[in-house]
Symmetry: C2
Subunit: 328 residues, 2 copies
Amino acid sequence: MDKVTICVDAMGGDNAPGVVLEGVEAALRADEDLEVILVGPQDVVETFADGHDRCTAAFASEVIEMGEHPANAVRSKKDSSIVVGCNLVKEGKGDGFFSAGSTGAVLAGGVLRIGRIKGVKRPALCTIIPSPVRPVVMADVGANADCKPEYLVQFAHMATIYAEKIIGIDNPNVALLNIGSEEAKGSQFAQEAFALMKEQVPNFVGNAEGNDIIPANYDVFITDGFTGNMVLKTIEGTAKTLFKSVKGVMMSSTPRKLAGLVLKGGLKELADSISSDTYGGAPLLGVKGACIVGHGSSNATAIKNGVLITAKIARQKVPDLIAEAIAR
Amino acid sequence: MDKVTICVDAMGGDNAPGVVLEGVEAALRADEDLEVILVGPQDVVETFADGHDRCTAAFASEVIEMGEHPANAVRSKKDSSIVVGCNLVKEGKGDGFFSAGSTGAVLAGGVLRIGRIKGVKRPALCTIIPSPVRPVVMADVGANADCKPEYLVQFAHMATIYAEKIIGIDNPNVALLNIGSEEAKGSQFAQEAFALMKEQVPNFVGNAEGNDIIPANYDVFITDGFTGNMVLKTIEGTAKTLFKSVKGVMMSSTPRKLAGLVLKGGLKELADSISSDTYGGAPLLGVKGACIVGHGSSNATAIKNGVLITAKIARQKVPDLIAEAIAR
């Protein structure tokens, strides 16, 4: 594979730096052409980099905490791991940046430090929705709580490229999340977005409803960041509670416990297929470099997968393809 | 119990009139103080009414189909079962109206025919979210795709009464659906709604996220009709697909099939606990009478439960309590 250099925020996530270091180690083992620049406090990153081939250290003395105002923190904490990591990408020293830290701060770092691709109105947070049927793609899932309808046209172009190049969906179709399937349905915003997408997005196939997502009835779901984030967290909460309830049934008597043992392996596979850890992160599409946000609760596997998908996005030149699509 | 008269749309739903008649029969059996006015074509409703105590017939020669423009259909089809049923409530001949027909048409019938309670800016579609943890309440789930922040204050007052009187939740708390839990989070709309609710809704406790709904972390979830409908259908689609996948695991080998048999009863109970059929319908709150919309795919049990909950809303005088709360 092509050589690629990914900057990784050693301090990102609830269990940093421990699981981040574990995840980076696993990613380096899995991908022989991957180089990592580990960004964080000297005492954390230096020893690790010394002990690992293809890993160098970049020092960052500050950490942006989960509760801080993202844009303010990015502006004031110039020596934070997120800002230093994003700057390395901007300077061309890294091809991409991965962090499981504060989503807002990584988004702000991506926009303010790595910078928007020319012509992109608003970068969008895109994610793979892990469905047991097959993975599908959704954008925006939270970068832009307030959108104009025209932003959604660009989200559609960007998410299509992601679905094609990273998930490997051939000729993905695109649907607009709306309430009701007919053209004239939904809010004023959704109706305007529908009209623009119909005109400007060649692979647009119409409206999708909430119950089209997990059954994977379309390839790419486009929406504003408020709705997308709401839907994404609703799916997480629903799946988690249902699995817990199924487990509860399997613990409710001795025969059921025994039956549960027989099914354990299959249910574990099912749970893994819909776990966000499988993909490890959501890309901020529309900035000049791969920029991926991991879940705060990431374990080492999620970190590893997040770093590897960052490398894939960089190798597939997703930012360049987006620049071309937007310039058209 | 108090005598109560409910008008039922014989032609509402995918399997009407068959399952509607079955459901009405079951409801009449379950509630000895219930009277039903069955509304529909003479050949459907007359024979049934003749054969059942406490059931009378009201003729309506037209039917509003699922695809029709709701408000236009309600205005033009004056002899449709939905319009005739709503008129009976308006005239005081019925205490409530139940239909599993076109949601949009029932909402339009409720607003245009039964009429808004004085001071109510927008009636809201409210629903019980069937969680395996415990039932919670959400409004609006689709009556108003476009909302002003002040509507949500009234939705909160109305849904609180519903949660208390119909679900039996003591002193229900109210949360605003938003992305992020802190006060300053979310869209412009959500921030404005937060400020108003904080000031005007005594039982308001703050923001809730999508992953708070099915775990039942709050009692009443308030949102605009676009977000509410999206979230509701996302939950339905997620639960349905996950149950199908769990069944798939239980069919994937002979030992797993046997284990599945042991668990079948428990999983059926779990599936029932989250089935929308258990509650049978969503009330349009803010109109001068009980007005309940059933799921189009309702079976006889759902129809029965829908008619019984309409009776309960009428007996508990929910519309009167809403009028008092709004007048305050």
